[in-house]
Structures are given as C-alpha cells and as structure tokens.
Amino acid sequence: MTQKPSAGPVAEVLQGRSRSTQGMFGDWIRSRTPANSWPVVAGFAVFAAMLGLQQLIVPGTQRLLTSVFLFVALAQAWNIIGGYTGYASFGQVAFFGLGAYTVAVLMNNYHVSFWVALPVAVVVGVLFAVVIGVPLLRLRGHYFAIATLGAAEGAREVVNNMTSVTGGGGGITIPTFGSEAPTPYFGKPGFYLAFLVLAAVSVAVAALIARSRFGYAMVAVHEDEDAAGAVGINTTVVKVIAFAVSAAIVACAGAFYAFQQIEFYPTDVFDASFTVLMVIMVVIGGSGSVVGPLAGAVGLELLSQFLRVNLGSFNQLIFGAIIVLVVVFFPQGVVIYLRDAWRTRQFSILDNVRRYRL
C-alpha cells in the first residue's frame, strides 16, 4: 500500500525526481566538468606513459615496474573492502592463492588455455568470497581481521593437503614450452603489459565505485551500520559485494602471478606478507581515497626493492622500522596528510602525532 504525500512545498521535495540518468557510468560522465576531470586525464596520461616507457627501459626495470603494477592492483582491491567499507580483511591473500592455483591446476592438469582459466579463477575467488563473506562479515573490527586471517591460513592448508590435485607441498608447475603448453608464455614484455592493464582496470573500478551510489553506501556502512540500515541500505549485500569485488581483483592478480612465476609452492602464493603489504600500502598512502593506495603501492614497492638491493640483510629490519615511523607520524596516511597540510598550511608533524595519542 503506497501512500504519496499530498501537495505543498514539502511534498514537492518528497516526490520522486524524474529519472534523469541511469547507472554509474552515465552519472559519472554527466558530472564531469573541466575542473574535476583532471584526474582522468592524468590517469590516461600515466597509462600511456607506462606503455611507451616499456620500449625504453631495461628488463630489470621492467620487472620492477611489473611488480609495482601488481601491488597497485592489490592495494586498490584491499581499499575497496578495507578502506571504504571499513572491514579490514587480513586474509585477502586467500583469493590470490586460490586464483593462482585455479589457473595452475587447470593449465597443468587439464591443459586449458590461460584465457579460459583466468575467468574461472576470478569466479572461484568470488564464490569463496561470498561463501566466507556471509558469515564472517557479521563480525566487526579485530574479530573480522582475525577470522579472515584464519580463513586464509585454512585455505592454504587445504590446498597444501590436496596433493593429488595441486601437488601439495611439492609445488605445482605450469607447462610453458612446446606442445605441452596450452598458452604460449607471455615473456617479460607480455607480463608488463598484463599487469599494467590489471593495475589500470583496478584503479578505474575503484574510481568509478568511489563516486557512485554504491560507493556512498560503502562509506555509510563504514561510518554507521545502524544509520545506514535505517535509510534503506542493505548492509549485508553491500558488504558482500564489496568483498567479492575485492576478491575478484585479487584472484585475477593471482592468476597472472601464477602464470608469470611458472612454478610455485602453496607458501609462495598464500604468503601472509602479501596481505600485510596490501594493508600497509593502503594505510600509508591513505585509505578511503583512490590516489592514496596508488601512491602507497608505488612508494612502498619501490622502497622495498631499493632496500632489498642496497641493504641486503638489514632490509627487513629497516622496512619494519619505516612502517613503525610512518604509522606513528602519519596515521592518516601520507597522501592525506600532505593534502590536508597543503590545504590548511599546517605542516607540523608533531601536531600530527598528537592526534591519536593517549
């Protein structure tokens, strides 16, 4: 039984608005003005630059940039569930490993082409996300973080023990040469391109979502689930979809990674440090924005490689110390700090430290 409000100025406001635009993309297009379009232009420019750069750089740098692209994608994916929706998952690596193993198993055991195995890997990731998401997304805060961590560890153990299918602890190999190979190996340039596209797509997806109604719903769920429910947001659906989208991107990344590595063990692709790196990149860059995770991923991966090359055995220690320092001095993320400091002309780092202290 619907009852429409009768006439009057209040009623006019409360009548539904005529349907002017449909869908996220149309909405986004229509709201572009010269002023706020520069990120898109910048994005395209960077993408083109990265493409062109490929010809100019040595293979070593190509490898470096490829791993940077990988982490850009992973950071954006984590940001969707952790940054926007506020559910800090510490088990995203589960989807990475599942994506990797799906591709490896399909290509090795069943000689399926990579291009067929890839969508299957994504589907597997999404299905797993929905299956564990529905019960686990009822938990909050630390509990959710640890439950997802447990799920990731559990997934690794299961894969580890399905020796007949996955090769278990002995690892798995994707055939890449000769008639055995279902798909020819991409090679360094090919993977550079593949990961670049993945990174670009993940940034685009994140940007589209951020300004859409769904993006607002995610933020509302993050800020206050009760209030979100009261205004008509189906919080369960929002959380599960965010979780699934994140999982899809991560699974896709895992699939590419598997093909790139050719052979790997369960501990390689279910390595918890992937998750931690994802989280660190987003937090240090600044969660809840699109640029933050991007900057965080680029900065941290470059830093990590630099340390690895130049400091040898000290590198993990210094890396840990840097994490501690950045968390203490820039809790809101370096990008957000810079943005706010620029806007308010207040650069004092000591003041920043006092924000969250006891």
Partner: protein
C-alpha cells in the same frame, strides 16, 4: 495473546501485543495501538519506560519477543531495518548518528539515494539533499561536517536524513531535548508542515509543552506498558498519568 489474524487495517501503523524482553527485564509488555493516516501520535513516559525500545521494534532494529508490527496492513515483524525503510518508514535516532566523514549535504543525499523512489544518480540525490536542507533550515551548513553543527542543527540534519528516504511514516525520537524556546517552536512548526504534506508522525518526546502542542493523540508508557492513550487533555488529566510523573503524594494532595 491473540493468534495473528490478517485483519485488513486502514491504519498506517498498527502494533499488536508487542513485547520485548532483555534477559530478565521486560522492556515492553503487551503494547497495542494503531495510528491512522495523517495523524500525529505523541509517545511520552518517564525514563526507562520503553519509548526508544518501541521505536527500535517498529523500525526493525530490534526483534520483538512476542507481538506484531503492521505497516499499512502488512506484517513487518522481525524484518530487517532496510526492508522496513523501503516500506516508507523512516526514523531519527535519539543520539544522532550522522555519517561523520561526509558533508552535511552528502549525509542527506545518502537517504535520497537509497530510500524510496530513490534518485538514480548521485547528482540528483545531491539536489534533493539541497532542497531538504533548505526545508529544515540548515542549508548554510551544506558543506560542513556533522561534528561542526550545533545540537539543534544536528537534530535538523537527522530529520533531513530521514525525510530524504521519502517516508509516509516518520518516527522521531526525542528531537526536542536540549533545544531552546524558539528552537522548539520552529521544530513544532516543521512537524506540522510535514504532517500537512501527508506524512504520519509518531513522536517520542520528553518535553511536555512541545508534545502537547504537536500531538493529536498521546500514548503514555510506564514500565513498558500503556498507561493511557487519548487526546492530550484527556491524558494530562488522567490521575494515573499524574501519579506516574509527579508521584502519588502530589495526587493525594490534589484530591484532598
């Protein structure tokens, strides 16, 4: 308890034998009433009487232990809050719950985006938000964050958020608390305007003067049960109500 029978109801809201228990405490006990279209029902009662519990039960934030809630004749007992919201029911929270990281305008727009007859684009929702901010009188704060608002303005924001979902039934929870004289008057005026546009209103309130001037009927809750239900003058003259609020000594003194 009457067995649930689907009696067609012309009432916008009907509550049948609603009860809620928390552990050993009955917060609400056998509460039944109905609200007709276009009516303003005031709900009053001492602290702990169960007023907010009642609102939470109606809007789906709590599940009743027993009893039924019907909106427009449809049984919505135990449904999730967003399902009920999509049945054109909106509410405000006694302790306001704004989305702190968003601007005031965006706060209202969220309701417009996800409520009934929702705006399909963010831009449309923001326009609706602007109109609603104007309606409740905080248009000048559109770009501020909720934490920067005064108490009265924060209440207005809470109201605008609820209105953005285009409800036909609005439950407001202690909107007047802590407001000054003239703020109460403008709030009362706003509530009347909302009713004139066709929204049915249930107002939980503590501030007597406001509730008496706003309500068509008043429901008095005490220790989780209905103490009285009737027109404001009837209710305020009811000795049981006087006793509950002012004590039996007062009552004795008056009658002696």
């Amino acid at each position: 308890m009457i067995a649930p029978v689907e009696v067609p109801s012309a009432a916008v809201l009907e509550v049948r034998h609603l009860a809620k228990r928390f552990g050993g405490l009955w917060a609400l006990r056998d509460v039944s009433f109905s609200v007709s279209e276009g009516e303003i029902l005031g709900v009053i009662g001492p602290n702990g009487a169960g007023k907010s519990t009642l609102v939470n039960l109606i809007t789906g934030h709590l599940r009743p232990t027993t009893g039924q809630v019907l909106i427009g004749g449809r049984d919505v007992t135990g449904l999730r809050p967003w399902v009920i919201a999509h049945d054109r029911v909106a509410r405000t929270f006694q302790i306001v719950k704004p989305f702190r990281g968003l601007t005031v305008r965006e706060n209202v727009a969220i309701g417009a985006m996800h409520g009934n007859e929702r705006d399909r684009s963010v831009r449309d929702a923001l326009t609706t938000a602007d109109e609603l901010l104007d309606l409740v009188g905080i248009a000048k704060h559109a770009n501020a964050t909720p934490t920067q608002l005064s108490v009265a303005d924060a209440r207005r924001l809470e109201l605008a958020k609820a209105l953005a979902t285009r409800p036909r039934l609005l439950l407001i929870d202690e909107v007047m608390a802590g407001l000054r004289h003239h703020e109460i008057e403008s709030a009362v005026e706003l509530i009347h305007r909302l009713r004139d546009s066709g929204i049915t209103i249930v107002a939980v309130e503590h501030v007597m003067k406001a509730i008496v001037s706003v309500s068509d009927r008043i429901l008095v809750l005490h220790h989780g049960s209905i103490l009285a239900l009737g027109s404001p003058s009837e209710v305020l003259a009811d000795p049981r109500v006087i006793e509950a609020y002012l004590g039996h000594r007062y009552l004795d003194r008056r009658s002696s």
